[in-house]
């Protein structure tokens, strides 16, 4: 099992969710986050006072998938989240040691 952690543009959340649903991925966890990579922030001016806003709002998606589906899910996710401009975000992949469904104690991929 692999955990996919994707940080994407907030306005790409719905397209990504739809695309993943279309290939049968329903479960995911979403967090509103702020951050930046190479993308520089922007400048705001309030009554002549300049503020540099470099931590920009992003969405963090976390989902765990079976090893066999990883490539397909990644292709779908990055394809739906891409605009081709700086600021599209990043995807990180982790090994998952175990998954447990709390309701009935299912283990491993059946718990996903």
């Amino acid at each position: 099992m692999k955990k996919i952690e994707a940080i994407i543009q907030p306005f790409k959340l719905d397209p990504v969710k739809e695309a993943l649903k279309a290939i049968g991925i329903d479960g995911m966890t979403i967090t509103e986050v702020r951050g930046h990579g190479r993308q520089k922030g922007h400048k705001e001016v309030y009554r002549g006072q300049e503020y540099n806003v470099d931590l920009l709002p992003k969405m963090k998606l976390e989902l765990v998938v079976a090893d066999a589906r990883l490539d397909e899910v990644l292709r779908t996710l990055t394809g739906a989240a891409r605009t081709g401009k700086i600021g599209d975000g990043k995807v990180f992949i982790y090994e998952v040691a175990e998954a447990i469904r709390i309701r009935n104690d299912d283990r491993g991929e059946t718990a996903l």
Binding site: Y46, R47, G48, Q49, Y51
Partner: protein, 457 residues
Amino acid sequence: MKVLILFVFSMAAMAQTAPSIDARLAALDTAVKSAQSAGDNAWMLTSAALVLMMTGPGLALFYGGLVRRKNVLGTMMHSFILMAVITALWAIVGYSLAFAEGSSVIGDLRYAFLRGVGITPNPDYAGTIPQQTFMVYQLMFAIITPALISGAFAERMKFSAMLLFTVLWALLVYFPMAHMVWGKGGLLNAALGGKIPCFDFAGGTVVHITSGVSALICALYLGKRVGYPHEQMKPHSVVLSVIGACLLWVGWFGFNAGSALAASGLATSAFVATHFGAAAAALGWMFAEWIRTGKPSVLGAISGCVAGLVAITPASGFVQPFPALLIGFLAGIVCYLMATLVKHKFGYDDSLDAFGVHGAGGTLGAILTGVFATSAINDSFKDSAGKTLALGWVDGNAGQVLNQLVGTVIAWGLAIVGTLIILKICDAVVGVRAERDHEIEGLDLSMHGEEGYFFEV
């Protein structure tokens, strides 16, 4: 035939009951007076309500949106609680000190506890409305004036100190200034025998210069907020400020057009000038900012509108619509430069630009009133022979500009000296500045034990 009979009958009936011409004229006279009084009173009560709306919610939202999230309630409370504090003070001595005939700088105590202030009009001020209407209308001005100052000490003043400060400020600065400009026998009163007639239709000197200049003194005395200017202190909700500014714009019709103290043509002139001044100033600030920084901000446009309303306040009721546009446009540009260039150059922390907008806009408006005041708009000033007097420079009375300057200097002087003394007293009694930890935590929690926004999961 039928018609003729009816005519004869009705003639006979009239002959029996017709009152004398004199009696009928007297009845007509009473009816006309009562109709005028009803119309004037309806407008003045509406205006009083409009001016209260400027403080809460208008100013509370305008200022509340400009502070950081942790101070939104504390800032709104500054405006709101004055609606209660000044009202009580006004009933006890405020109205009397401002409007009773006394010396040339302060009224006596004949109206203390509103003794004798009933529904009979006071012809010195407004002969067609109950004196209570006049009293409650003027109260609304006394409420908003100290509330304006709160823009300078926002986010760092103790609540107890703020209460004490505003009560003393009303007693030592506002009531005397209101008496000098508007009170019977006041030093600067143009209508009721002042030595130096100074035109201030709705409170350019009394409200905006006094509050704006006092704001600057407060900002200098209190010092900068912790972290200013390095930390992010951007407005937490410009949306609230937009709503507040729009309420101020609407409420200002009561402030200025109501200052005609009647539902008259003069009220219409003041209404029109007010609207034109606000519109032109929004454009002036917006374009100045657009040219200097490349973007026309919403906060800039609404700040400009308020600056224009401030500047047109003394001039409304004296100037034609086109000079009103000009005064507004200039105020938009000048106040923009004050709130951006000048403030940053001198480095004082006037948190919400109470001085940049009210002090600068009020001063500009007071002086320009001397330039553009004309008897074509306001013909109530007459010499002993009953001839209408020339008012401002445009009427050929250039000396009025000097009178306006004297009024301005007195307002500045009183505000500076009064505010310094009051701050010293408050500092000695309760301490004016919030403790550093309290300021960092935010005044909402540290002073009031509440949070403005709590979104339950």
